[in-house]
């Protein structure tokens, strides 16, 4: 920051030759690179570190084996109970089935709990939830406060680690958001000013110049009144260089343009529907489900009913069920599915990080627009009030 500011001062003082301008741009670019790339790297590195930590804590193979054993023990227990029933029953089919249903129901609730809370996948399956990609998505969802909740820590250490990880990670991510959002907002504004206001519609620019002149006139009037003591607020001291009407808009000028809210909304809607198309291709969701997922994720609600990678593991399981006894066919399938899952996880996390920054940018721009509008509104109201007086 310091360097950038000094650079700008330098830029203002001297007359700008071409080489100096170039140097200045270069310096700004390098500063930009350092500050922002550094933060992005920090966030990504923090997430990767978190992923490894959670794999270490939660993904211990002992847990998985214990869960599988527990489900197996419950199954044989149920079989035993049914056997007991077989021994001492009067063989009335309906009554007998009713009793079997009771046992099955308890077995069912056990399986549901195992699947939902202890990341049990199926009898012949490895635990894929705490794989690298799964825990990467978990740590990302913690620091972005999305919190899908499809993967939850089960051990004491895991919960503690999550709390600490969130406390450190969230400010970091907020820093990332504010920085990247700022940068994106500035560059978007620049692009908007260059493309939409300068080239395409000169009429509009002329109109804007006229409006600016009018405002300058009003400001002069206000200054006049301020000098004579009618008004008692004094904040307007700048705005000297806005009305010289030179043909090229400088960087500072472009930063005073406000981007309309509708454009921001369009960008957000476009991003969400683009994501929906992408996810409907990768994950074979419907378009509506994809856009629902994108909205829920980007607004950081994160229910976790749709999570990328789930459907692929699901299809893997269905292949497994087709050959219910074949344990040897597993690894080949899993290998091919694994790479797809990894890729989709990586793309999803990139989509999320970019999308959050984009939304931060949109809010930044919209806030500026709204503030501008409110200011003009209050100005008008004040002027009306003065007229009445």
């Amino acid at each position: 920051m310091e360097r950038k500011r000094s650079g700008r001062r330098y830029y203002n003082k001297r007359k700008k030759t071409w080489t100096q301008q170039c140097k200045d741009y270069l310096r700004q670019f390098i500063a930009f690179l350092f500050s922002n790339i550094g933060i992005i790297c920090l966030v990504v590195g923090y997430t990767i570190a978190g992923a490894f930590m959670f794999i270490f804590i939660e993904g211990a193979p002992g847990n998985a084996i214990a869960v599988i054993d527990r489900v197996g023990a419950n199954r044989s227990g149920t079989a035993d109970r049914i056997w007991d029933m077989v021994c001492c029953n009067a063989y009335c089919e309906d009554e007998w089935k009713q009793e079997v249903q009771v046992h099955l129901r308890s077995f069912q609730s056990h399986v549901i709990e195992a699947v939902r809370n202890f990341s049990y996948e199926g009898p012949n399956k490895q635990m894929t939830r705490w794989s690298f990609s799964g825990s990467f998505l978990y740590s990302l969802s913690v620091i972005t406060t999305i919190g899908y909740g499809n993967v939850t820590p089960r051990t004491l250490l895991g919960k503690l680690a999550t709390i600490l990880y969130a406390i450190v990670g969230m400010p970091l991510f907020l820093l990332y958001l504010s920085n990247i959002g700022d940068i994106l907002a500035k560059s978007f504004k620049w692009i908007y000013a260059k493309c939409c206001l300068c080239r395409n519609c000169k009429k509009r620019r002329k109109r804007m110049l006229a409006i600016q002149r009018k405002e300058q006139w009003k400001m002069d009037m206000r200054d006049f009144k301020l000098n004579t003591g009618v008004l008692t607020e004094g904040e307007e001291s700048d705005d000297e260089g806005t009305t010289d009407g030179s043909s090229s808009l400088s960087f500072n000028d472009t930063q005073e343009v406000t981007v309309p809210i509708s454009l921001c909304l369009t960008i957000m809607v476009g991003y969400i529907s683009g994501g929906a198309i992408l996810f409907s291709k990768w994950e074979s969701w419907e378009f509506f489900d994809g856009s629902y997922f994108c909205f829920i994720s980007l607004s950081t609600i994160g229910f976790g009913d749709f999570v990328p990678g789930n459907s692929i593991t699901g299809s893997g399981t269905s292949i497994g069920t087709g050959t219910s006894t074949g344990t040897g066919t597993g690894p080949g399938n899993r290998g091919s599915a694994g790479t797809v899952i990894e890729l989709s996880f990586i793309l999803c996390s990139m989509y999320l990080m970019l999308g959050m920054a984009l939304i931060a940018m949109c809010f930044n721009l919209m806030q500026q627009d709204v503030v501008m509008k409110i200011r003009t509104c209050t100005d008008i109201v004040r002027r009306i009030g003065r007229c009445k007086n």
Binding site: W83, K97, L104, I112, G149, Y292, I296, F303, N310
Partner: protein, 347 residues
Amino acid sequence: MGPVGDKSSTGSSSAAYNAAGADNPKERLKECCRKLVAFMCTQVGVGGLVVGYAVVGAFCFIQIEGQAGDAQHHAVEQLRHNCSVNVWNATNTYNVLYRDNWTRQVTDALTHFQVNLALIVKKGYDGRTTEETWSFSAALMFSLSIFTMNGYGNVVPKTMLGKAATVVYAVFGIPLYVLYFRNMGKVLAQSFRWLYTWVYQCSMEDKAGGDLYNQQLPQKSRVIVPSTACLWVLAAYVATGTVTFVTLEDWSYLDSTFFCVTSLCKIGIENFVPVGSITDAVADHPMKLVIKFIYLLLGMGIIAMCFDLMREDVQVRVRNLKMDIGLCFEDIRLRAVAVYRRRNSFD
């Protein structure tokens, strides 16, 4: 949204008008009264609006989702029925009661049941029918979790209409909630700052006539609340929540802390889903729900307050740091110049 916004804007504009010429005490008193009324209106109005929005959302979601068919539940029932038929057949075929064969057959049937069940559960089935899932309390927590951006995910909409309604509800609810958050944060920050100043003054000096002094002081000089105090407040709030939920819900201390922290940070990992027994879901006491609801809303306000106060503190600190660094550099520069000069004079 509309009336509250109007109210606040008129309040602020009237305050701006009065700020210009309010010297005599009568005017000042009037202004104070007006401010108080505006404050009450905005705070109570926004709070009431948030609560009302949540309740309306809960009813809407019950209406929308409660009528949805129960395809998964029926599928599971079918599975269970098939399984019991299989077991019956096994019993009939091995009616010699040869135990090993029987056990193998039954285990196969059970395994089949288990695998298919696991698939359905992964698609979102949690062992409850829609009526049990969409009880009023669950729907209220669901709508709260939408607009606070918590998203617990123990209850999710299954139908297309429900999903669309969720999106629309979030689009309108989140700005409303942010308004509440900002307002609440500001008010709480002001009151906390006042309290802090008061306590600070009390502890600093015990002179006679201190009362008058104390009341005037917060307006004159803004005491900046250190961020450690905010952290203590947050920690105390989390601890209170932990103890409350331990007594209310029979969770362990760690689970309770985990719930408080993840909820207040808006992460919202809900892993205390009442799956095991269906009766748990039904017997969700309304009192517990209300306490949870109030705890979350108030907690968000307190977090906003801490943000407000800490930002101020951090700003001051950064300014001080900058000044220190500037002084340091100046010092170094002076020293360097002195050294240079001395060397020159030696030469």
